[in-house]
Structure formats: C-alpha cells, structure tokens
C-alpha cells in the first residue's frame, strides 16, 4: 500500500480546505494591519454556531450562514476593542479565544447535554464531469463538496483583490503606513473594519465547513489549533498570497499524512524519499533563485538533506506512537518557520493602532 495514494490526496484536499478559507480572510486582515490571534475563536465559533443553526433550522446552508454570522460577530468584538478603542490586538485575541471557548462549550453543554450529539449528513459531493475522470488526481480534486472548490479559489481571489484593485491598495497602505494612508484620504479605520470583517466571515465559514460540511457534528474545541496553523502559514508565506497558499497546503498535507501514518507499522520509504526531495528541492530553489541571504541556511539544509537521504537508502524501521504523529503538523510548522524566516517582512503597521504614532 502506497502512502501517497489517491486516498491520501483526497484527505489532504479536505484538510487543506478550512486552512485555505481562513487564510484568505486573515491575509486581508493582516495586510490591513489587524493581527487576529482570535482567528481560532472565529473558526471555533463558526463551527459551533453553524452546527446549532443547522440543528434549529434543518438546513445545511442556513447553518453555514450561521457560522459566517458568528465569525462576523466575534470579529466585530475584535473591531470595537482594537480598532475603535485601540486596545492591544494580541490581548483581545487571547480574550476572544477564552470567551468563545466558553460560549461554545456552555451552549453545547446546556443545549445538547455536553455530548449527546445529534449528527447530520455532511454536505453532498458535487462531481465535476470530465475533470473527475482524470486518473489519480481527478477524484480527489474534483469529486468534493462546493466549499472545497471555493477553497481552491479563495486565496487567488484575495491575491487579485490585494494586488489588482484600488481597494487592495488601500488595504496594503493601511497596514504598511497607516498615517501616510490617512493623509492620502484613505479612511484607515474603515478599511481595517472591512478587512477584519473579511477575516471574521472567512474564519466563520472555515468553522462551518468543519462542523456541518465535513463531519456533520460538533465536538468541544473543534478548531483544535487550526487558527494558529493559519497564522503560522501566513507568517511562513511572508504575508504574500502565494506563500500563504503553499504554507496551508503544506500543513494540510502533513495533517492528512500523519493520520495515515498512524495506521502504518513503520514509516514507509516513500515518506523518507518525500522529505529528502522536499529539502533538496528547497535547497535547489535557494541556489537557483539566489535567495540565500544566510549562508548557514545552506549548511543546515545541506546537512538535513544528507540526513534525510540516509533513511531512503537504509530504510530503517521507525515507528512512532500515534500521539507523536498528532504533534507532527505543529512540529513541522515550527521547523519550517525556523528554516524559512530570515528575511520575513511583516506589514509595518501590523498590531499597531492607526493612532499610535
């Protein structure tokens, strides 16, 4: 059995979808200068309220709408506190995570006696006729539900909005130089509100995807750190759409890979090969694109690459307990961040209030 088969590809696509949806909104927000540590809260709130709305109304689509509304509501709390009052964005983000964890768990406990879960049918798949017949990639990519298709387009759409529209310019100016933007007639607060609402709606939609589209039920703390992974992906992508996209895909693919590897006895050879290829590929990219600003990166990656090639040849029998596999996506994102940063440049106005001179 191959690890990287069509089943893995399909679970990867499903795991990437919420990350991509949330990243699209958060990217706009961070470029406008608002860092949402509470993205985790928008996703969690979205997933619970989508589930609750579907429970009350019986409609999956109304449920999704409820999830988006919840994301917007919690983003509005963030907006009032940080944009209107100028309170610390990071502190408000932490507060939102605690608050929304409390709200969702409390209502879930009261309404559903904490676990006597009613589950619904997840969203049906929409098969795209010709494309889904392509061998290997066809079914995983083109036999999915509508929201997964939306997740393919989300980040590119945001990239277009950010770099090709007047509004996108205003967003970037508000994040980069709020005072100068204000002097040029851009209403920084208004732009930040719009960007923040985009993050809230996207986070809520990603949450709704998790509960009503993918699984059809809700559990306590359903978002399980996805919001933080998205923040890491955006940081990894250096606040550019393409980079954030790569980051989300990387983390999503790892998440589905670790799920699969839990079922394997030992780490198969393909995985070592993939790791080695990824490191060597990145190294080649660094050399060819002349992006090496830090020679130690070359040395470290060279050593890592050599180390990764070793198990491909020797194929040792490495087994890991499932708990450690569960920690893998977080560990990987940390390692990737540590190796990739160096020249990262965040929007200068990020987390600063527009009035902070």
């Amino acid at each position: 059995m191959n690890v990287f088969d069509a089943t893995w590809l399909a679970t990867s696509v499903v795991a990437c979808a919420p990350l991509l949806l949330a990243a699209a909104g958060e990217l706009i927000s961070e470029r406008a200068g608002v860092l949402n540590l509470g993205l985790e809260a928008y996703i969690l709130g979205g997933s619970f309220f989508a589930y609750w709305t579907e429970y009350a109304s019986g409609s999956l689509w109304l449920g999704l709408l409820g999830g988006v509304a919840a994301g917007l509501l919690f983003a509005a709390v963030m907006g009032v506190a940080s944009i209107q009052f100028g309170a610390d964005q990071i502190v408000i983000g932490i507060g939102l995570v605690v608050l929304v964890t409390g709200i969702t768990s409390y209502i879930f406990d009261v309404q559903f006696a904490g676990g006597a879960t009613v589950s619904f049918d997840p969203m049906g798949k929409t098969r795209i006729p010709l494309l889904s017949d392509i061998p290997y990639v066809g079914a995983p990519f083109f036999d999915q539900n509508v929201l997964v298709y939306l997740s393919y387009a989300a980040v590119p759409i945001v990239a277009f909005m950010l770099y090709r529209t007047k509004w996108g310019l205003a967003v970037r100016a508000s994040g980069e130089a709020p005072t100068a933007a204000e002097a040029n007639g851009i209403k920084v607060r208004l732009v930040r509100w719009q960007a923040l609402m985009a993050a809230g709606a996207a986070g809520g939609l990603a949450g709704g995807y998790l509960s009503v589209c993918q699984l059809g039920f809700f559990v306590h703390g359903m978002s399980s750190g996805r919001g933080y992974l998205v923040l890491a992906a955006i940081f990894f992508g250096r606040w550019r759409a393409k980079g954030a996209l790569i980051g989300c895909v990387l983390f999503g693919a790892t998440q589905s890979l670790q799920l699969r590897l839990q079922g394997f006895g030992a780490v198969p050879r393909e995985v070592w090969l993939a790791v080695a290829m990824a490191i060597v590929g990145h190294l080649l990219y660094l050399v060819l694109a002349r992006r090496v600003s830090w020679t130690a990166t070359l040395v470290v990656e060279g050593v890592l690459g050599a180390l990764a090639v070793l198990p491909v040849i020797t194929t040792p029998s490495v087994t890991l307990p499932s708990e450690l596999w569960l920690g893998l996506p977080y560990a990987l994102s940390l390692i990737v961040l540590a190796l990739s940063v160096g020249t990262a440049r965040m929007p200068s106005g990020l987390t600063l209030s527009p009035r902070a001179h």
């Binding site: 009052f85 408000i92 507060g95 939102l96 995570v97 450690l324 569960l326 977080y330 961040l337």
Partner: protein, 366 residues
C-alpha cells in the same frame, strides 16, 4: 498624573471589568433557565464559603499567580509569551520524572523537583526565545505551536515511557512522598506551595522596583532604543526575561503535579490555567503584587463554578465566558480615555458655543 491616581484608575478599570463580566455570567445563567440567585449564591459559597472552599480556592491561586507573574516578566521586557500551557506541561513532566526517580522521602527531593520543573519550563520558553532571536520567528506563534506539541508529548509519555507499571490507565507513577508538597491546611487541598507563589510575587515586585536587573528589563520594554543607547544589551535582557517567564510557569506546572491528590502526571494536568493566568496579569494591570488578589478572584470564580454545577446544574464552562470577558473588558478599559467615547465627548464639548475648536494635525506628535 501621579502614580497614585493612575493606580487608582487602573484599579477602577479592573473592578468594573470584573463586575461587568460576572454580571454577564449571571445573565447567561438566567437566560438559559437556571435559578440565577441560587446559582450566584452557590458560586460564592463554593469560592469562599468554608475553610474547605478557601483551601481549594487558594490551592488554585498557585498556578494562576505563577502564570500571571510569568506573563508580567515577559511583557515588561516587551516579549509576548502565550505558551504557558506548554511550559507548564514541560515543568510538570520534569517534576514528575525527578519525583518518581528520587527515593528516600526527604524534602531535598521537593527542592530538586521544583528546580527541575523551573528548568523544564525555561527550556521550552528558551526554544521560542532562541527561534525569535536568531531566526526571527515571532514568539506569539512559536510558543503556541510548542504548547500543542507538549500536549501530545504528555499524552505519549503517560501511555509509554512514563506510564505507571502494572496499570492500565494513562497516568504516570505517583511521585515519592518526599517530593510532594506538604499540606498547609489539613483537610483541604492547600499546600505549602502557596507560600512559594506569594513569595515569588513579592520577589518579582521587589526585583522590578529595586534591582538593576529589573530596571534593565523595564527599560528594554518601555523604550528599547533608549535602553540600547544606555548600554543595555536588550536582546540578552529579552532572552533572560523569556527564560524567567518560562521558569515561573514551569514551577506552576510542577506544582500541579507535586501538590495534586495522587501526585502523578495525567492528561490535561495544566488545567487550562495557561490562558486564565494571562487574565490574572491583565486584571492586575501587569503589577506583580496586584496579581495576588486578582488570582484569588479568578480562582474563586473557578472553584465556585464547580460547586454551581453540582447544586444547580450550571455547566462550569460558564466560567470561561466570564474569564474571556474579564480579559477583553480590562484591555478595553485601559484605553477608555483615548477611545471613541471620550473623543466623541470632547468633540461634543468643543462644538458647544463659546469654545474654541482646537485640533492638532495627526502627525503633530511625531
């Protein structure tokens, strides 16, 4: 404005935010159909109604106070540490490991275990600080990711290498009797670690007020550029602050094992105090001594919430709503005097006849 007036204003903010948050919590109870007055009463009784309740509340003050201090030490140096959960777990692992491997029953073991816990927490915070220093990875992200890794690491350890032999439960062996904190108030869960926590709060307050190291940290946090010109190695000070911050939360995590009923490592041993401890620090206006009453308040809320569940069936998750509102409320209150409401009021006042409308250009302050 004098320090006294500023302190008074901060105190008012905190009291108002806490009061509003508790009121909102009671409103939630009322809306969801539970008897509000009875629930509020059992909240109070559960928090401070008896010696037993006081003991349980003060026992919970220990981790909350230590995490609050950890936040303060980092934030005073302009470092943001949000990975207390992971650092507490690292401390708990180290404390358990030393506590189970030492034998003999003397209290030297306890000292060693507490130091090991501090080292564990500092190590984890050190990873984040090192990544920030040399690779530019923001601590906000790395500390959070490290927490998620530590949760899984604990889950693995208590089912694998550190699992109690001959048992089928996911838990470690209990620590040796000498490594456990002795009980302070018999018949209650209150242990001597409360004295350590309060002592550390006094120590942190004194260090910030009267030592050279504390002054350097404050300088670094308040104005890094000026600090650098004054010859302070700001990077090194920040790194040290992160290490101390991690050590404090490591001690908190160690306490949760060494003063627990069974004295062993289990899943979720951190008890979610990692985030609530931040609420303690914010409620205290980032002042070390004020953390003591703030921690008592939030610990009482948590303990009272537990009794509220058993008497009137209100889910204890309600406490999370109140805690979240406290964090947001205090953070907003600190900015009330510069916020929109004050601005609107000023604008209104200036639009009255007979007053001169003065508005400095936005860049004037630069």
């Amino acid at each position: 404005m004098s320090d006294f007036v500023l302190g008074l204003r901060r105190l008012m903010h905190s009291v108002a935010a806490a009061a509003i948050a508790v009121a909102a919590g009671i409103l939630c109870v009322h809306i969801s159909g539970f008897p509000a007055a009875e629930s509020a009463n059992s909240l109070l009784v559960g928090a401070v109604g008896s010696t037993q309740a006081w003991g349980a509340t003060l026992n919970e003050v220990v981790p909350l106070l230590l995490v609050g201090l950890a936040w303060i030490v980092a934030i005073r140096a302009a470092r943001i540490n949000v990975g207390f959960q992971g650092q507490m777990l690292a401390g708990a692992i180290c404390a358990t490991w030393t506590g189970t491997h030492l034998t003999g029953g003397s209290h030297v073991e306890l000292v060693v275990a507490v130091i090991a816990a501090a080292a564990g927490g500092a190590f984890l915070a050190g990873i984040a600080a090192a990544l920030a220093q040399w690779r530019g990875v923001p601590e906000i992200i790395s500390t959070l990711l490290l927490s998620f890794i530590m949760v899984q690491a604990v889950a693995w350890l208590i089912r694998g290498p550190m699992m109690q032999p001959g048992q089928d439960l996911p838990q470690s062996s209990p620590v040796d009797a000498g490594a456990a904190w002795p009980t302070l108030l018999s018949g209650t869960p209150l242990h001597y670690d409360i004295l350590l926590a309060v002592g550390l709060a006094v120590l942190v307050a004194w260090a910030f007020r009267s030592t050279r190291a504390g002054w350097r940290v404050r300088m670094t946090g308040d104005n890094p550029e000026a600090a650098q010109h004054a010859g302070i190695a700001t990077a090194r000070v920040g790194l040290a602050a992160m290490l101390v911050s991690g050590a404090l939360s490591g001690v908190a995590g160690g306490s949760l094992v060494l003063s627990s009923l069974l004295g062993n490592l289990v899943d979720g041993v951190d008890g979610g105090f990692g985030l609530v401890g931040i609420a303690v620090a914010l409620l205290a206006g980032n002042s070390a001594l004020a953390c003591i009453p703030a921690a008592v308040l939030l610990a009482g809320l948590d303990q009272g919430g537990a009794l509220m569940e058993s008497t009137s069936g209100v889910p204890p998750t309600l406490v999370g709503i109140v805690q979240g509102l406290v964090i947001i409320g205090v953070a907003v209150a600190a900015h009330l005097h510069t916020g929109v409401f004050t601005k609107t009021w000023t604008a209104l006042r200036q639009s009255l006849p007979g007053t001169v409308r003065v508005r400095a250009p936005r860049g004037a302050a630069e």
